[in-house]
């Protein structure tokens, strides 16, 4: 029997192991359809992937953007603060402004009008270049340079007929630090390589190898928003009233605002914008009305029938439930809520400084609030069946316009090159009454916390 099995199986194996036959065309069409279908992962994996992606993106932004403007700003600052110890040089005619044939962009030190800054910086650099260094530079870069004495008096470092070396002061506008690293040709490549080698570093961020360290005066903070910067803030702020009136409950107001800011003179900024504020007052209204109300019910007999059971007459009362209604007069207080919407226009000026990725600011100014809509609670809408004899909403009407004095502080945390989040607690003092009613003209004040995000727009000179 076993041999029979083996025999059969051997034949089957021989015949069927490599048996081949052409499949129908529909199979390939089905394969194509299957391959074209997107592959979906189960939703837990998708959520996990989204979370991981978000963490990776945020971590990457944080890692690669730790205060890009640090060294750029230090550069510009130091240029301005360099001891102008070479007045004679400033008198020399300068021809270093403008594009060179070799360099991609024109770079000028300080502002284009400030030729002395340009001269001074170059002088400082050249002072740091000892004769040995200049000789070494010449040897390594094969760029002809004057003698050391001439170096101190000239305005260029790497001098040849086609290349002039200058620095752009407001580098944030021209390019970011990362761009600097990737576009070395915008500066003299020879010079950059020479300094990098001298300073034994390729990391501008940590070692500031754009300029020799000795030439750089120390500053307290090394993160600054550069001058002439625009920022746009999107803020949400709850406003908490710190004082209540006897007959009014001021609810928390909420404002959504868009506020551009302009940064200038290194530490100062002005901010304005538009906000939409939603306010609510709770109070009481006197109401004298008559209204039909159901007093109760009773069983009304509409028919009586009599049955004789065992010689006794038994009455049966047929009833129906009847409601009793009567007009009732009410005279008292009802709760009401008045709602107001304001257009808010702040005009603020502030001072800021930064430490690492944090920007701290204090500001003050005036905010103008213009009433654009209001909803005064109408009790009659709640009581359509009533006859209103007298209704008086005791809540005072809010003023069509009121002004506040704002004093606040802010903390801004930079998440990336242009994007940051902020929290700004501020104190708001009413400069004009909140209510038009003379009985409610006493001053009031509020506390608000503004949360939001800020986007930095491009610089302008």
């Amino acid at each position: 029997m076993n041999k029979d099995h083996e025999h059969i199986e051997q034949i089957l194996r021989e015949q069927l192991a490599d048996f081949a036959t052409t499949p129908p065309d529909s199979v390939w069409e089905g394969i194509e359809r299957g391959l074209d279908k997107p592959v979906f992962f189960p939703w837990p994996y998708r959520i996990a992937a989204a979370i991981v992606a978000a963490v990776v993106i945020m971590g990457t932004l944080w890692y690669f953007n730790p205060g890009q403007s640090e060294n750029l700003e230090m550069v510009s600052e130091q240029i301005n603060d360099v001891n102008p110890a070479a007045p004679a040089l400033a008198d020399e005619p300068q021809t270093t402004v403008g594009q060179s044939d070799a360099a991609e962009t024109a770079v000028t030190v300080g502002t284009t009008a400030n030729e002395s800054s340009e001269t001074v910086v170059v002088t400082e650099l050249s002072k740091e270049m000892s004769p040995k260094q200049s000789e070494q530079f010449q040897t390594e870069t094969n760029v002809s340079t004057p003698s050391n004495e001439k170096l101190t008096q000239t305005t260029t470092i790497a001098k040849d007929n086609t290349t002039q070396l200058v620095f752009q002061h407001n580098m944030r506008q021209a390019f970011s630090l990362q761009e600097l690293e990737t576009r070395p040709s915008s500066l003299s490549t020879d010079f950059m390589q020479f300094w990098m080698k001298q300073n034994n570093s390729l990391d501008y961020r940590t070692n500031n190898t754009l300029l020799p360290p000795a030439a750089l005066p120390q500053t307290e903070s090394n993160t600054q928003i550069s001058n002439n910067t625009w920022k746009l803030a999107l803020l949400v702020s709850p406003e908490f009233p710190l004082k209540q009136y006897d007959s009014i409950t001021l609810s928390t107001a909420y404002t959504l605002s868009v506020e551009p800011s302009f940064y200038f003179k290194k530490h100062w900024f002005v901010r304005s914008g538009l906000g939409f504020s939603f306010n609510k007052d709770d109070g009481f209204a006197q109401l004298d009305m008559t209204r039909n109300e159901m007093m109760g019910t009773y069983e009304d007999v509409y028919d009586v029938t009599f049955d004789t059971i065992d010689g006794n007459v038994i009455p049966t009362y047929h009833t129906q439930t009847t409601e009793i209604w009567d007009s009732v007069r009410h005279n008292g207080l009802v709760g009401v809520t008045n709602r107001y919407q304001y257009l808010q226009l702040p005009v603020l000026i502030g001072y800021h400084f930064g430490i690492n990725k944090f920007e701290f600011s204090i500001y003050g100014g005036t905010a103008f609030n213009f009433q654009i809509a209001k909803q005064i609670d109408d009790v009659s809408k709640h009581t359509p069946q009533a006859t209103i004899h007298r209704y008086q909403n005791t809540l005072p009407d809010r003023a069509s316009m009121h002004t506040q004095l704002w004093l606040g502080a802010g903390v801004e945390y930079r998440l990336g090159h242009r994007f940051s989040i902020t929290a700004e607690p501020n104190f708001r003092y009413q400069l004009s009454p909140l209510y038009s009613d003379s009985d409610f003209k006493q001053s009031n004040h509020m506390f608000a916390v503004r949360f939001g995000c800020i986007y930095q727009l491009s610089n302008k000179r």
Binding site: H7, I8, I11, T21, P23, I31
Partner: protein, 182 residues
């Protein structure tokens, strides 16, 4: 059948032309495998289609151990087994215990049958028998390997194979009897 590395790279990149070429070269043999495992042509088509989709999607996982054709073959067989398992779960798979042992005379007819006829013989087996028979006799898997693939014990695999053989012999006998009558 061997494929050069540049062609395999194209397949990994999901180049449709390369995929079609690959399919045309291997599909006849793979279809033969599917026909052995499937109850009917529709099932065989499904196994082949699903198998090749898996081949193209997971080709990047092929580590170069052994031939690519062998890897594709194993993928197709696994696809067939998965279909069988799904059928078991749904209760559609044929019962594998319905055949009784019987004494069968020595068959002399098997050598006379063509490959297609033998294929039909195998296809007529109940699905469970057919799967184990194919894996063991035709594809050369050990009972241990079959047990792992089908989540059954080694002894179960052996007993099912024995029953498959018996069933096959019974069919061969019936063919022989028919011919004798004719």
């Amino acid at each position: 059948m061997e494929f050069d590395k540049s062609f395999i790279r194209k397949l990994v990149k999901q180049d449709r032309e390369a995929q079609m070429t690959f399919y045309k070269q291997l599909s006849p043999k793979m279809y033969g495998i599917c026909l052995r495992f499937a109850s009917d042509r529709d099932d065989a088509n499904d196994i082949l289609q699903e198998g090749f989709i898996r081949v193209f999607r997971h080709l990047k996982d092929f580590r170069g151990e052994g031939s690519l054709e062998g890897w594709v073959r194993r993928t197709i067989v696994n696809t067939a087994i998965n279909l069988y398992k799904k059928r078991i779960k749904k209760g559609i798979a044929a019962d594998i215990n319905t055949y009784e042992n019987s004494i069968v005379e020595k068959p002399l007819i098997v050598e006379q049958l063509s490959a297609n006829e033998l294929l039909e013989l195998v296809k007529e087996l109940p699905q469970g028998y057919r799967t184990i028979f194919n894996l063991s006799v035709i594809d050369g898997y050990t009972h241990k390997e079959i047990g792992i693939k089908l989540n059954i014990s080694e002894n179960t695999s052996k007993s099912q194979l024995s029953r498959a053989r018996t069933a096959l012999q019974k069919k061969l006998k019936s063919i022989k009897d028919r011919e004798n009558i004719e």
